[in-house]
Symmetry: C2
Subunit: 448 residues, 2 copies
């Protein structure tokens, strides 16, 4: 049986979701799950809740908890990194500063996005320090990057530590099922290919019961999208911005590709309030209401269920698979149950032609006891490869260069790449102000 170490297990919502999926995977019964977090109280709370859940499900699991990462890694077969260093407050603080300097949501990968450079810096440091521990303590373990930045993390770590068994996870590609449902197709009968880089993935192949499904999508757009758009929320996966991108590129943006979660690419649709209104976009509200408030509501819900030990956890969180890819991945490898899954790995065999071979791609992989084996995709239309290079690869490369060099000049260049930067002065002013945030002491020192 497998030992799974969850780093950042204090996120009860995340841990419970994993445990639920394990309980729904009979072949993983008997596994050891080690909950690790530096916050003892959150750890205890998530641990107790999950323990109750496994008991209610009548599934035998060995649940452990520790604040000692190295202890958690000892003997691990899978290490899931789910931690976000420093929580959400400094993300919001950084955005407040950036907005004062003229930055907007929209194509801003490293400023007005939850992969802001001041967030990513600590995330990359954490990713790398866990990597080093793994290579020392459990070098055969699979390192599963769930925390962002997946694109930068996979690229950086797999390049620097080619011996590492590493994969990045994102549920964004599940968005294709939501698209199918909206246009009236049973998601169980679609097949598809959605290649790209993380948070920049495009539906290039789409079939329903074996037939090309793009004509069905086109008909829906022609006949029904107007009524749909009338009633849909802002930042909708099938809203006017998504349809415009489809019209422009001939392939459909999936998941966070054009969404706030991926940085609301591109900037064009967010030029000003009027334009955003036209495209029914409101990233500010999305982050506020869906992301932060939604997350807080989840935490509150978890807290209540935790405190109320007279009711079953299962009554509040019924045993339905989360459709997150982590547990199916673990089962495929640990129990040699081969399956094709969408994962984030290095493009080392040109799976998506045009993306550099040493950069991350999000592609279908054959996952089994052998490990993770990339599947060659049909690739992206040339214009999108160019935008991927311009708006994803280039800034991430600069970011990684800055991370390696500790040179402030590189960080300035990174901010200069942001679509809202109009002058070096503006970029430097933003940087100065953000680096003053009290929680960024380590970063200030690195870029001294």
């Amino acid at each position: 049986m497998a030992k799974i170490s969850i780093i950042g297990a204090g996120s009860a919502m995340f841990s419970l979701s994993l445990i639920k999926d394990i309980c729904l995977t009979p072949s993983l019964e008997g596994s050891v799950v080690s909950f690790m977090d530096i916050d003892e109280q959150r750890l205890e709370s998530a641990y107790s809740l999950c323990e109750r859940y496994a008991k209610e499900a009548n599934i035998h699991l060995v649940l452990e908890k520790t604040t000692d990462r190295r202890e958690s890694l000892s003997g691990a077969d899978f290490v899931v990194l789910a931690a976000l260093v420093g929580g959400h407050q400094r993300l919001k603080d950084g955005w407040d500063i950036a907005q004062k300097h003229g930055y907007r949501f929209g194509g801003s990968l490293h400023v007005m996005h939850d992969e802001g450079f001041w967030i990513n810096f600590d995330q990359l440091r954490l990713m790398e320090s866990v990597m080093l521990d793994i290579l020392e303590i459990c070098p055969d373990a699979w390192y599963m990057l769930v925390s962002n930045p997946v694109m930068a993390g996979v690229t950086y770590l797999q390049r620097k530590y080619p011996q590492a068994k590493l994969a990045g996870f994102c549920h964004g590609s599940n968005g294709v099922k939501a698209v199918a449902e909206v246009i009236g197709l049973d998601p169980n009968h679609i097949t598809y290919e959605i290649p790209g880089v993380n948070h920049f993935i495009w539906l290039t192949e789409f079939r329903y019961k074996g037939e090309n499904a793009f004509p069905i999508l086109d008909r829906w757009i022609e006949e029904k999208s107007a009524a749909y758009i009338e009633n849909c929320a802002t930042c909708d996966w099938l809203g006017p911005k998504a349809l415009d991108l489809y019209k422009k590129f001939g392939v459909f943006p999936i998941g966070d590709t054009g969404n706030p979660g991926g940085g609301s690419w591109p900037a064009w649709h967010h030029a000003d309030q009027e334009t955003e209104h036209l495209y029914k976009e409101d990233p500010q509200a999305w982050w506020r209401d869906l992301y932060f408030a939604g997350g807080a509501a989840g935490v509150e819900r978890i807290r209540k269920v935790s405190e109320n030990t007279t009711e079953a956890v299962m009554d509040h969180f019924p045993p339905v698979h989360s459709s997150e890819p982590m547990i199916p991945f673990i089962e495929a490898i640990a129990c040699d149950v081969p399956r094709v899954m969408i994962l984030n790995i290095l493009n080392d065999s040109n799976y998506v032609p045009g993306i550099p071979l040493d950069f991350q791609v999000e592609i279908p992989c054959y996952v089994s006891g052998i490990g993770v084996q990339g599947i060659k995709t049909k690739g992206l239309p040339k214009p999108l490869i160019n935008f991927a290079l311009r708006d994803r690869v280039a800034p991430v490369e600069i970011e990684l260069q800055a991370y390696d060099s500790g040179n402030l000049k590189d960080l300035v260049q990174l901010v200069m790449m942001d679509p809202w930067t109009r002058s070096e002065k503006q970029a430097r002013a933003l940087l100065d102000d953000i680096l003053k945030l009290p929680s960024l002491a380590a970063m200030r020192q690195h870029f001294n």
Copy 2:
């Protein structure tokens, strides 16, 4: 529904096997199967037999027959090339000549093998002329190379016609199931990877119910192989030669890798009669008894069933899937039923590191409505890559150069590469004598 064109359908054994598999694949019911052969009598005979079979199976198929290849290709979705130009006699004639010149079975890819250079020449010409017809008449069709040489054919055609939808087929990898059965494992519970080039594939990953199965193989070798070898036939898949190759390289030869069907690689085990006896090898007998006599017996059996219309064909050829990959391939693509299959395609994304990117490899592929998508393999041990380059890639490259140039000098070089060639004089004498065969007029003209 699909239209499948079988070029060389006069091989009743082959055609019946395909039709049987189609009848066992409900989603292909209603398909059109066009039987094409230049031999009208063989065509008629195979066609009638298959028609009887489909009727008995109560499966609706539209069976057509024609001696006009272009007619058969018209509207085809899949073109299966199964023809062998000139039949077997000139193969035997060539071998008789070669043996007089000192050639032996054993690592002789282009002389003492059914891919002899004088056979391959006409095969490549046929492959290419069918290719050109396909590109003109049914450019969207999948071209399925079943005839040998698959390695040279896939390499040559896909390089020269990159727009072609092409895959090479070989059932050799099924040999892993026979290996599993002999060592006492249920083939339904094994998983494996067997990468390489056609007829040079090696079991590098092997699991039984999720656990590494090599220790089981090792134990079988330790405890039971001696008794097995006592009773096994010559040229056995688990005979002393195979075990010696496993011992030498640490991975197990599968299918025709060390077998007469793949050219009895390498020459070492065939140095002389004594050595062959030691390794329980007798390729001469294998070709005579198993290949030619076995094939003739099959033809005779088919003839009898054809003539006896009072009995059901099905009584003699029960409806059991052949385990040949062609019909599962067609179903996967035509009906968008994704499956992972072992196929022969170009190594264009470095699926087997070390094999040139523009050379054929035999690898697992993800086959679906999208088409054929190679899966990155873990590759072969370095020594085997070197032997693949030396004994497969290099001679095939010379052969293709000769085919392109029409220069006899290149053909001499090809024969010079044969492990049994001791002098240029010997090579030239062999060439001279073989090119005198009456049936090789076209080849003589090409290399004039």
